[in-house]
Symmetry: C2
Subunit: 381 residues, 2 copies
């Protein structure tokens, strides 16, 4: 397989924009990525686009607006992991030598989707979901277990929100740019005990795009290309009900595959972007990704190790909690965030001297289905 | 790239089954394909699933019911070409050496989808679509052009429906198993002049699956494996408004790529399965696929060359018109049909001594967007 570089990244400002179409937001991200790469739309040879709600040749609809036609395009869906799946699709196309330049696009209009202003509803055949095992319900159960088994407090969870909302203030693309205190977070409306509103990610509209290419192409554009050194995607069951429910065996296996391909370990990472749909979830992912041992995620929170300026910044972008979470866009957007840090272009939230970063996303896991996907990319300069 | 074989095919009976879930229909097809291949569910190493409406980790939902977990799964969408895109995804995974055994699944529940009992509605931003350029509207314009420029008659179009409904009577999986006369077809309700109801494909629920593998694996299962010798997928604009509107440049380029990869031409084909969403469309696809010259498709119809028992049977399955059209399932299902003929297992509709077959699908093309995809596979024994 050939080495693959990221030479263009772009995203729209995330927020609630019901007046914007998916095509408009998608074009905004694609144009930004093309400008970043100094490429024309016609240079794109293959495209993977991800959108979960109302997908209807979304990639074609976006790219035809920019004059891109008669190339291979694939629209993918993998719940919140759709964007990651799109990036991996393009990565394989180039690594396997089918094409030299490709684009991955993620886009979602949550405010105009069929689930606008609703919790993500469980499918009809999901009886546990219908009885209350919704996303907040599932993560509230995990939070209870974190409190019971590892001694976590609601203040610990709230401090994750405080951190990510602080980071959102440093990111011009963020949906929310407001500092919160632990007290603010805990005082916000109760969604599912112990999870309060400010511990949940918002409904968000937005798009992101990344342009990947072979090293031959990359070297014509830059002397310091960012490379994808690890890529892994696994789907199946989360099996939260077996063994210890705070442990995702699927996520751990995915992480192991990505680290092995990259030839690095968690100790080599300079920053991480991960799936923080709920504040307490971030701690679980520290452990799944091997950033610490099982049960020790709490210590990373209390030590402030994962703040911008800390030992290992996590979600410097603001994460899903503050930057926002347009489902299929998030897995493309978080790879762009890593690239900006590796290029020293992340502004006020820059990780100093960042050389290796990891972007993690997962999706699915509704009630009894527990079916989903976990995708991880490791990037290096 | 490695050679890839098809060793398992299966489908559910097509029809209107609002009481069946997508998971039930998907499992029916997957189990049939596994039995056909003499494989266990746990032998599957990678899966691509396609579903257009309500896709929500559909592949995972189906395969987790059968105990398949912790493998790479990708859900794809490409309008009616989604199933073809899934097959091509698995084909690449195996051809490129990532995996040895994979499954492509296509499934759709049209009767419970958001568009149940409606024409496929154009997107809000598609002004031409809102003004009437729906699917039947677009194909009626093409039919008018076929009449005006090539001398086609409504009886010619109706005779395509007569042929495909005759074939449906020979296929135990078909939604409709009833013979029609040209008069019956023309007397049915007018949908969009000159297209009557029996010249349109129905709303259909159903699923299909195919299992692909490397030649090493295939040789352990059979001495006569069916191989995929050509695969091509292109997306972009149909540009029906440029040049001659009955010519799809996108489809012609896709066909050229597939023939070149396969090292065969249209003259080498023993049977064809193609996208016949409307009766008049079938004639256009004869021409796009090079089965005859532009404008000569009509002669193939009048000569009955494409009937079962004719020189080049087209849609012996009954096609979308009679077998039915569960959107994302059709591009998987039509590859299964070709395999059955190449294995001499197609029963009453068998193409004698079939050695090479082509499966074509296209999707998209709504009003002014004209964005879509065309996918073609060529198979040989």
């Amino acid at each position: 397989m050939r080495e693959v570089a990221v030479i263009g990244v772009g995203q729209s400002t995330f927020g609630k924009f019901p007046q914007k179409t998916v095509v408009e937001m998608g074009c905004e991200a694609v144009i930004a990525a093309l400008q970043d790469a100094a490429l024309r739309a016609k240079d794109i040879q293959v495209a993977y686009a991800s959108r979960m709600y109302d997908c209807w040749v979304t990639g074609q609809s976006i790219l035809s607006e920019l004059g891109v036609s008669t190339i291979e395009m694939v629209n993918v869906e993998n719940a919140c992991c759709g964007g990651t799946t799109a990036v991996r699709g393009v990565w394989k196309e180039i690594a396997d030598g089918h094409y030299d330049i490709g684009i991955a696009i993620g886009v979602e209009s949550m405010t105009t989707s069929p689930i606008a202003r609703k919790l993500i509803p469980p499918p009809k055949e999901d009886f546990e979901g219908q009885l209350g095992a919704t996303m907040p319900g599932m993560f509230a159960i995990l939070a209870r277990r974190q409190i019971e088994k590892f001694g976590a407090t609601v203040e610990d969870f709230a401090s994750i929100s405080v951190k990510n909302h602080h980071n959102g203030c440093l990111n011009p693309f963020a949906q929310y740019k407001k500092e919160f205190t632990v007290e603010d977070v805990l005082k916000s409306r109760m969604v599912c005990d112990p999870i309060t509103l400010f511990q949940t990610c918002p409904n968000t509209d937005g798009a992101a795009a990344v342009i990947l290419c072979s090293m031959d192409v990359a070297r014509k554009h830059t002397t310091k290309p960012v490379k994808i050194i690890g890529s892994a995607l696994l789907s199946g069951e989360y099996k939260y009900r077996q063994e210890e429910i705070t442990v995702s065996l699927l996520a751990r296996k995915t992480a192991k595959m990505a680290y092995e391909m990259a030839g690095v370990g968690p100790e080599d990472l300079d920053l991480v972007e991960l799936h923080d749909a709920f504040a307490n979830e971030e701690i679980l992912r520290y452990e799944d990704l091997g950033l610490c041992k099982t049960g020790e995620g709490l210590r990373m929170v209390r030590d402030k190790a994962t703040w911008v300026g800390g030992k290992l910044p996590v979600n410097p972008s603001g994460g899903l909690l503050a930057l926002g979470h347009p489902l299929s866009a998030s897995g493309v957007r978080n790879i762009g965030e890593i690239v900006w840090h590796l290029r020293d272009q992340a502004g006020a939230r820059q990780t100093p001297n960042a050389k290796i970063g990891l972007a993690h996303m997962l999706g699915g896991v509704v009630g009894s289905l527990e079916a989903g996907a976990c995708g991880i990319h490791i990037l290096a300069r």
